[in-house]
């Protein structure tokens, strides 16, 4: 039962060109977009083109006891696709067809390799959108974003990936092909397996087809930039806007470190003297947008902020460009960028921002914080250098404290990046031992041999680096 035999068997099923064993290629699958992790070399890469082939691969992997690591574009930020125990990386990029856009049911049926932006470009001519918009939407695949339950900038009003997944086809650990959910708005047939597999991070099954909900594109949008002299006023404005019964499509925050960095890089006239800026966008039909924008402006002014609306499309694009430039601009300052996504109830946003500032000071680290303030999902971004062991030690301790602070405020370890490899050891902090046991029972039931994305979500042994 050698690996060579497994390779020969897989070549028989997939053809030689779809079983890659060249070390120079495999090395490129030893990591993903997650910073600060070691690299782990897989034994082989397979590139199936059909669900049936995925089923065959999983069966063969079971025979030879080889771990299987499903992978889309590898843009996740949790180490979710890193092959920690060697074995097989299963790339779903060849399954990249949009199978159906159903204008009566407002659904799209896609294969897992479809890129998020490709889907949005395909539905845009019909006046529809698929709202979840993670920063990686130009490259990330639908399979990966469902497996990780990706979020994005529009989460506050439009929700996250799980709110748009209506049905799934999944290959189970034994190679069986099953379907859950479908095109109906209502479906209470037994357990909600669609939600279980959404965000399961490749540990319970391999997603091979997805039915997605689409919604009509908003008619108009208005974008506003608000500047504040202190973090607390920004925090009060966030809760104040929601209290005034306005749910903006997005409500993004950038702290002083981020503002200064973005401005130095992009020079678009951000208020560098401010302690925080909020970028707020309301969208919908024109009358509602006018009324909601007025309410937003009033709340900001009441809290001592200054606010202006983007004058035209160009200025609006510039503001969003500034927000999107936040991470890359921060990343240019130091070689390694540790991006976290600890999330708190939005009423605790100010407290969390102050706690992060304090942690940065105590560990003598540069932390830029930006993120989706409206849904409490912050991105404290630690700028460091993974080659500096002493500094990395301080980074790890700071990250521990950020998680502790978020949990103490009734928050969660991860708002949108997932647990994966990077946060596995923190899982008991949030769920407790018994909570983790419930998860382990589910895992055991669906993947008794532990061959689907092992080493993720639950802390366990790692293989070769």
């Amino acid at each position: 039962m050698s690996i060579k035999e497994a390779i020969r068997t897989l070549q028989g099923v997939l053809g030689r060109e779809n079983v890659v064993t060249t070390p120079e290629d495999l090395l490129c699958y030893s990591f993903d977009a997650t910073a600060g992790l070691p690299e782990y070399l897989p034994d082989l890469l397979v590139t199936p083109a059909t669900t049936e082939q995925v089923g065959e691969i999983v069966k063969i992997a079971g025979q030879y006891k080889l771990p299987v690591y499903p992978r889309g574009a590898g843009t996740n930020l949790s180490g979710g696709t890193v092959p920690v125990q060697g074995g097989i990386v299963l790339s779903l990029l060849k399954m990249n067809k949009i199978l159906d856009i159903d204008l009566d049911n407002l659904t799209a049926t896609v294969q897992p390799g479809v890129v998020i932006q490709t889907l949005n470009s395909a539905v845009a001519p019909h006046g529809l959108i698929y709202p979840p918009d993670p920063g990686s939407l130009a490259t990330a695949t639908m399979g990966g974003s469902v497996a990780e339950c990706a979020g994005g900038l529009r989460g506050l009003k439009y929700g996250v990936t799980r709110d748009y997944v209506m049905g799934l086809q999944v290959v189970l650990a034994g190679g069986e092909i099953v379907r859950f959910g479908g095109k109906t708005v209502k479906n209470v047939t037994a357990y909600d397996m669609v939600r279980l597999f959404t965000g399961s991070e490749g540990t319970l099954g391999i997603i091979t087809e997805i039915i997605l909900r689409l919604i009509p594109a908003p008619e108009v949008r208005e974008t506003m930039l608000a500047a504040f002299g202190d973090l607390a006023s920004a925090g009060r404005s966030i809760t104040g806007i929601i209290r005034s019964k306005v749910i903006p499509a997005t409500m993004e925050i950038m702290d002083r470190v981020t503002i200064e960095t973005v401005e130095a890089h992009a020079r678009i006239g951000l208020p560098t003297e401010a302690e925080a800026v909020l970028l707020v966008e309301v969208d919908g039909i024109p009358e509602v947008v006018r009324r909601e924008a007025a309410a937003v402006r009033e709340v900001i002014t009441q809290n001592g902020g200054t606010v202006r609306s983007a004058a035209g499309v160009r200025e609006r694009d510039q503001l969003w460009e500034a927000r999107r430039a936040a991470l890359p601009a921060l990343a240019r300052r130091r070689p390694t960028t540790i991006l976290e996504d600890a999330t708190v109830p939005r009423s605790k946003i100010t407290e969390m921002l102050l706690a992060i500032q304090d942690i940065g000071r105590r560990y003598n680290l540069t932390i830029g914080t930006f993120g989706h303030a409206g849904d409490g999902n912050l991105h404290p971004t630690i700028l460091t250098d993974s080659r500096d062991e002493e500094e990395m030690e301080r980074v790890h301790r700071a990250v521990d404290e950020i998680f502790k602070a978020a949990l103490a405020m009734g928050g969660t370890l991860t708002g949108e990046h997932g647990i994966g490899l990077a946060k596995a050891r923190y899982l008991p902090w949030e769920l407790g031992g018994q909570g983790v046991q419930v998860l382990q029972k589910i895992k055991k039931a669906l993947d008794p041999e532990g061959l689907l994305n092992p080493g993720k979500m639950f802390p366990c042994g790692e293989g070769r680096q």
């Binding site: 120079e24 490129c28 790339s91 890359p328 070689p335 250098d385």
Partner: protein
């Protein structure tokens, strides 16, 4: 800015890659293959592993570093990693330390030796019946695999090169300026009409043109493939040749050649005594023809006559992303009366030619071209205007093979038509 092409000097630049994978969105090679080893993120990791001594130089590694050098990743990279420089440094390291395919060594010898290159092209032109058969499109297809794919349709080689057919000086009485024209290989051997058009439009705008006979290949095919020592020798000889001329500017009609003079020579000769300063001065007065005729010696637009054509424009990678000449060709086209311009959906997407890449990877190169051909077909244009003869060869190959019946013109040729 780090001007080095040594991998070990680029460690900081390599460390700046945050592995976000955003380069996947625009890399034409990755978009065809979906392979992580075909996109910047994977290759930069390989470069890092090489520096760490985890992998050695192997033919497989050399292959992983071959790409279109289209700079799409450079522009997309949010961290501003100088990706093209890292790739060139990796290729250079592999040339030095072995593992280089024989084809590249042969090419290096031919391009370095102008006499051999000249003889090769001229022999091929005279003996073309022996080696090529006519294609229904008017082009030629190879009879034997001469390093060319047998399916390929290439333009008939000119039996008389551009430089052979021109005097070394095309002066105009009362000229307002004098420039030297670096023709590049493809204009000299394959598209002499482009060269004549460049001289014509400059002369008609009161600019005299010198075409030094001793010029040869700019060395870009070598530098891009990592043959740095030879590329440096070629840089020196061109710096010697053109710095000695009493001219206001050096004009090129090819983005790749332009980049050699404007960027590569400066980098390659940085720190070479007696050359560094001259290379910088020459770079400062090098212009692409579209840039020169629009901004430096502004075209007298009253001279433009009607050209009743429906045209579109393909932006060459090295002219647009490389030299930053993006606006000028469009403004020139827009200034021509009677011309109906329909833009491409993705004017700056690589056509797949990429010089020698097209010879070594014909299939993937052609698949990349198919996106461009579909875009062109969608415009309904009868003429594709572009500023690069290599792109033109690629477009003409695809247009002939697919039977699209479109004509490809260099921007200078279109302008010459309007000035007739």
């Amino acid at each position: 800015m780090n001007r080095s092409y040594k991998l070990s000097d680029l460690e900081e630049e390599i460390a700046r890659c945050m592995r976000c994978g955003f380069c996947q969105a625009t890399c034409p090679y990755y978009l065809e293959t979906g392979a992580e080893s075909a996109v910047a993120r994977g290759r930069i990791a390989l470069a890092k592993f090489v520096l760490q001594g985890r992998i050695g130089y192997t033919p497989a590694l050399a292959e992983r570093f071959e790409c279109l050098t289209c700079y799409a990743c450079n522009v997309t990279c949010p961290c501003g990693v100088p990706i093209d420089r890292i790739f060139l440094a990796a290729r250079a390291a592999m040339i030095r330390d072995g593992g280089v395919p024989a084809f590249k060594r042969l090419m290096a010898t031919a391009l370095k030796n102008q006499g051999l290159l000249d003889l090769g092209f001229k022999t091929a032109a005279r003996a073309r019946g022996l080696f090529f058969k006519p294609h229904s499109s008017g082009g030629l297809t190879p009879r034997f695999p001469l390093g060319l794919d047998l399916r390929r349709v290439i333009p008939p080689l000119s039996p008389r090169t551009f430089r052979d057919g021109m005097k070394e000086a095309a002066t105009v009485p009362g000229a307002k300026g004098k420039v030297a024209f670096f023709t590049g290989c493809l204009i000299n051997y394959v598209y002499p009409a482009t060269g004549r058009a460049v001289v014509e439009i400059l002369n008609k705008n009161g600019v005299s043109v010198l075409i030094p006979g001793e010029q040869h290949c700019c060395g870009a095919p070598l530098a891009i493939n990592g043959v740095m020592d030879t590329a440096e020798q070629m840089a020196r000889s061109h710096v010697d040749l053109f710095s000695g001329l009493n001219v206001d500017a050096l004009v090129v009609a090819c983005g790749t050649c332009g980049e050699s003079f404007k960027k590569k020579y400066v980098d390659l000769l940085n720190g070479t005594p007696g050359y560094a300063k001259k290379a910088r001065e020459l770079a400062a007065k090098t212009y692409d023809i579209a840039d020169f005729i629009w901004n430096v010696a502004p075209l007298d637009q009253r001279l433009l006559k009607e050209v009743a054509l429906k045209a579109t424009y393909h932006e060459p990678c090295h002219l647009g992303r490389g030299l930053g000449v993006t606006r000028e060709p469009l403004e020139i086209i827009g200034a021509i009366p009677g011309l109906d311009f329909v833009p491409l959906q993705e004017p700056d997407r690589c056509c797949g030619n990429a010089g020698t890449f097209n010879l070594t990877h014909y299939d993937v190169s052609y698949n990349i071209l198919k996106h461009k051909l579909a875009d062109i077909a969608g415009t309904g244009a009868e003429v594709v205007v572009t500023g690069c003869s290599a792109c033109r060869m690629q477009l003409e190959d695809g247009i002939a093979r697919e039977g699209l019946g479109k004509k490809v013109l260099h921007t200078a040729e279109l302008l010459a038509l309007a000035l007739k």
